[in-house]
Assembly symmetry: C2
Homo-oligomer: 325 residues x 2
DNA sequence: TTGTAAGCGTTATCAG
DNA sequence: CTGATAACGCTTACAA
């Protein structure tokens, strides 16, 4: 059906080898032959079969990206940036959104590791991943703790949690709630939570933490957030583990006739470009998305070249000072 | 390096054929052989080589997704949903974010059409795509006009533009600005723009349109938006072609001490779940993201099965009535 | 400067 | 129930 090298060769009256040479600009070729072959390719609308190429070359020029979701602006911007940079380096990306579903994560891992990708950038907390790195497929982890020798790029989560909590306390909040991910998982949010707890205690305040499942709907989340206000009528501070949650909580606070920041002070986390333009008033801890992407890419490329890399890279965060606290 | 079928075969003292059979559950096999082979696979940590499989089977189980960006919530949610549904059908996705850069689009098309994908869902307005469908690779377009026989899934853009404009007029706005994409490109926003223009004229109002390039930064966009206010001090209505722009414009309006909706009424477009939770007050035209994804998928699957499909599918939109107008 | 032939790792056919 | 062999489409030694 689809034309192959051989068809081009026949039409141009040359051998497959010659066509291949033209295709890849390799070896000596007369201009006449080159033109002839190119013409034949044009006519047949020839596209090389990449499976065949991959089989021979043992590489795909594809990098797998494994993240929980693409719909959250933090991951959205990160993935966007990674894709752009990988494109510039000649790679395409295959994306798996695990939604923190470990079955799905495992499926993707198995698929992607079947020689489908030349490397992997993971932003999920998959444990099963450990068994695979033996095959020395280059892998880089973003913002996820995994006790293997996979290099990790992360922002300073403890410091982020600390400045967020301190900000609220400085501004006079006493009853401060922290919302975060599920407690069972080893995610970077744990360090933020730890920093929150430490900072609260240091200031003789009681930590109050709400754990939310990752993959609940906006609607369910909304319900839980309402409950937080109901259960804590004297609430005057919120440190949310991401900006979406922070803003949703603010919306609810406003609908309950609370004033921000007078009655309730809020700090979010992530500080994506999108949110900084949509909600410039939100005080939030800004993660350096572009730098994270840069670093992940450069480390991955080092690994692809079989160069040695560090085990951990920690990038700075800073506080975007809005008026929400 | 990596173990292959042959290595497993040797270790298990059987032929490659047998191993392949075990791998694919095909044909009659004694339990003893099955166990033996599985054990050998375990030991070697064997992963089948997908390039070889693809070469033989002539398919990849990969669908290409070609969209302008993943960082905008509309595309983010759409892509998220497509990925989830495709995963359920056994497909992986390869993503290209063209950023409306036609060179990049073409590169991706060439790559993806080299037998790298079994099908394509495009949300970019690529013209070059026309030449390819000859190879009858199944393609579905989302919300993009392309005068070929590629099936198109879109929401009712004209109606959306109409109800948005009517809303503003009903609420008393007279000097209404519409922001939209570049004028050269044939995008769905054109129909919204056309509806805006028609509706304005029908009400004896002057249309006033600002065209914005797709791939400008938030910063540049912000500057342009400020200019809109400077150039139109008597502005009292805004119909933005997406919610991000609508909200950015609202932020600026507020910073200029305009009240919303008293001084300026605003209507956005897209109505993603994210925005409806973050900015429930924004009046906006809601596109049925999930239905679009559903339809795109089912049409693509029909095409994959070589079944006939309609040429165009138009889905309903509705107005989310916030307090911004 | 061009061509022949072997091989990449898998699967299907056909024979036993 | 199991095995030898050809084929998928391409690239690269090696030969001419």
């Amino acid at each position: 059906m689809k034309p192959k090298l051989e068809d081009v060769a026949k039409l141009a009256n040359v051998s497959k080898t010659t066509v291949s040479r033209v295709l890849n600009n390799r070896g000596y070729l007369s201009q006449k032959t080159i033109d002839k072959v190119n013409e034949a390719m044009e006519i047949l609308n020839y596209q090389p079969n990449s499976a065949a190429r991959q089989l021979f070359q043992q590489k795909t020029e594809i990098i797998g990206l494994l993240f929980p979701t693409v719909a959250n602006p933090f991951f959205g911007e990160l993935i966007q940036d990674l894709e752009r940079k990988l494109y510039k380096e000649g790679y395409k990306v295959i994306i798996g959104n695990s939604m923190n579903d470990s079955e799905k994560e495992e499926y993707y891992l198995n698929q992607l590791l079947s020689n489908q990708v030349d490397g992997l950038i993971v932003g999920t907390h998959n444990r099963g991943i450990q068994q695979y790195q033996k095959d020395n497929l280059p892998i880089v982890a973003i913002d996820r703790f995994m006790n293997t020798d996979i290099p990790i790029i992360e922002s300073n989560n403890y410091y982020g949690g600390q400045i967020a909590t301190e900000r609220l306390i400085e501004k006079g909040a006493k009853k401060i709630v922290h919302t975060t991910g599920p407690s069972e998982l080893e995610t970077p949010t744990h360090r933020r939570m730890q920093a929150y707890t430490d900072t609260m205690k240091k200031n003789n305040l009681d930590p109050l933490i709400y754990h939310l499942d990752f993959n609940i709907s906006y609607e369910e989340k909304n319900d839980i957030f309402y409950r937080i206000f109901n259960e804590n009528p004297d609430l005057d501070g919120i440190f949310a583990s991401n900006d979406i949650d922070a803003i949703m909580l603010m919306q609810i606070a406003v609908s309950l006739n609370k004033r921000i920041p007078e009655d309730i002070k809020v700090v979010g986390y992530d500080g994506t470009e999108l949110i900084r333009y949509l909600y410039p008033n939100l005080t939030t801890v800004v993660q350096p998305v572009k730098k994270i992407a840069d670093k992940a890419l450069s480390v991955l490329i080092q690994r692809l070249k079989e160069e040695k890399t560090e085990q951990e890279y920690i990038l700075d965060v800073y506080l975007w000072e809005g008026t929400s606290s």
